[in-house]
């Protein structure tokens, strides 16, 4: 932005970006917020299963080079113990908020999460990031002229003093979740048991979808031991492992007015903390 007119134009554009219920004014007072609206705002934005939508053509796209590079960047950070993938999922799919979640491309959120991670874990400062962004922008100010943009690190840093997780060492040679085997004791449920998904007031992060909370299902498989994503998402290496289960739900019971045959099913994996025995 270079002048007042451009600044005004950008402000007008941002003014049209809405992320609130239209029936409640912006910046509401506490008495205007009902419990169901509160839950809607607190719902983790990645949890979209069952939300209303209309048919849309299912199409594929070609990947940009930067999209592949972003995928690699995130995975290499995991490989070297800077984060586990659950931290990325929280940052990129939930912490971004609804506007960015639905408004920007898939891999741009992965990228956003890397910036956020490096800042929050103090690997880089705001100044370092900002200066580098300006520098890369300036490098290509005259356009790319048919060239591909290139990463040009000034040197390779000595990584020996970098703070890393234990996970990338403990999982080496065995895998994740294998590295947590034997840590959770006896599984509380067995195949065939009837269970109910607890309706917990989950804030900030979870991978137990809202659509099955309070629903009853059957244990289809006792799968593995692992810390729950609700802990892994926050880099809690002190978290205890628990058992995970694949739970089978009958679709006609899970959804109001399910239109398919009575024997259709849905399965999803749920950690033990979310399940209680039925009967």
């Amino acid at each position: 932005m270079t002048d007042a007119a451009e600044r005004a134009q950008q402000l007008a554009l941002v003014s049209r970006l809405k992320t609130i219920f239209p029936e409640v004014p912006e910046w509401p007072t506490p008495d205007m917020i009902t419990h169901d609206h509160y839950l809607a705002y607190m719902k983790t934005s990645h949890d979209v299963g069952g939300e209303l939508d209309y048919p849309h053509p299912y199409e594929n796209k070609e990947e940009e080079q930067w999209e592949l590079m972003t995928y690699v960047l995130c995975e290499v950070l995991g490989m070297r113990g800077i984060w586990v993938s659950e931290e990325r999922r929280r940052l990129a799919n939930v912490d971004v908020g609804r506007a960015i979640y639905l408004g920007l491309p898939y891999y741009s959120r992965w990228l956003w999460s890397v910036g956020r991670l490096l800042m929050e874990k103090k690997h880089i400062s705001w100044g370092e990031l900002t200066d580098r962004l300006a520098e890369v922008q300036a490098r290509y100010a005259g356009g790319l002229n048919g060239q591909r943009p290139k990463a040009e690190p000034k040197f390779e840093g000595d990584g020996s003093g970098v703070s890393r997780n234990k996970h990338h060492l403990e999982a080496a040679g065995v895998g994740d979740p294998q590295c947590f085997a034997g840590q959770a004791g006896v599984a509380k449920f067995n195949v065939g048991d009837k269970v109910k998904v607890r309706d917990l007031p989950a804030m900030f992060y979870t991978r137990t979808p809202e659509y099955c909370r309070g629903a009853e299902g059957t244990i289809a498989e006792v799968t593995y031991e692992s810390p729950a994503p609700e802990d892994e998402a926050w880099d809690r290496e002190d978290a205890e492992s628990e058992w995970f289960y694949i739970v089978r739900f009958n679709q006609a019971e899970l959804w109001d007015n399910y239109t398919g045959p009575k024997n259709d099913t849905l399965q999803t994996e749920i950690p033990e903390r979310w399940l209680e025995a039925v009967g």
Binding site: D47, V48, G49, G50, E51, D53, E59, N60, K61, E62, E64, Q65, W66, E67, M69, L73, E75, V76, L77, M79, R80, I82, L111, V114, G115, H123, L133, V136, Y140, G142, P149, A151, E152, P153, E156, G159, G161, V162, H168, A171, G175, D176, P177, Q178, R207, P209, T223, Y224, Q251, W255, Y258, G260, P261, D264, T265, L266, Q267, E269, I270, P271
Partner: protein
């Protein structure tokens, strides 16, 4: 105006197209440079993972299913220990880090269709997908639209892919929202008697392995077309 005259005029009046770097490219490059300078990983780490990522795709998944169609013992292995079965088609689930790709985990399960059960996969929370054996997911698989609807209206969504299933076939949606990754093993279609593993592999498309299509002799392409070109696509 002559051809020559037109070209001359054009070059004087039209501003040359500048292929500007995108905001996403700037951010990716800045972050990668800083990571390497801070020693979080090395340029060699990045190069090796890139090489891995460039070589994953759905062919091993198709071959695994073709092998299972031809060999009942292998089919049993595929259902009981999918990680071991994947190894037989060249996919070591611990690669390329020694503990797998950080986002996919070493928990892989193959869902075998039967005459009475049809499986279809989704990750309603993000885009969990068995990357080591199928490559990166197609864009539609990641969209909120597919994720919102397939869990609740699976038959309607499948019919939009051209797949209509009779009522006596149970549709089982597998929402892979934790560490397990899933792949569907469709049933071998009629009209493929005497086919070789290579021939069978060709009709097992990625869409069949997700569960939104069934293999059919003569069909070797996905239902979903590639419609949107990238500005600067992945370098060949």
């Amino acid at each position: 105006m002559s051809e020559h005259g037109h070209d001359h005029d054009h070059s004087r009046t039209v501003k040359p197209m500048v292929d500007e770097i995108t905001d996403f490219e700037v951010l990716e490059i800045a972050l990668r440079e800083l990571c390497i300078e801070k020693g979080l990983f090395t340029a060699e780490d990045h190069r090796l993972f890139t090489e891995y990522a460039e070589h994953i795709g759905p062919t091993p998944g198709a071959r695994l299913v073709a092998k299972a169609w031809l060999d009942p013992d292998f089919k049993e292995l595929a259902i009981s220990d999918a990680v071991a079965a994947a190894k037989e088609v060249g996919i070591d689930w611990l690669e390329p880090t020694g503990f797998g790709t950080p986002s996919d985990f070493v928990a892989f399960k193959i869902l075998a269709d039967t005459p009475t059960v049809h499986n279809v996969i989704v990750c309603a929370l993000c885009s969990c997908y068995p990357r080591p054996i199928l490559g990166n997911s197609p864009e539609w698989y990641r969209t909120p639209n597919y994720r919102r609807r397939i869990v609740r209206w699976p038959r309607q969504v499948l019919s939009e892919f051209g797949l209509q299933l009779p009522d006596d076939v149970e549709v089982r949606v597998e929402d892979s929202n934790q560490k397990h990754r899933f792949m569907v093993m469709p049933m071998r279609p009629e009209g493929t008697d005497g086919w070789t593993e290579d021939q069978l592999t060709e009709i097992i498309t990625r869409d069949c392995l997700i569960g939104v299509a069934l293999p059919r002799p003569g069909i070797t392409t996905n239902v979903t077309p590639l419609v949107r070109a990238a500005i600067r696509p992945i370098e060949a």
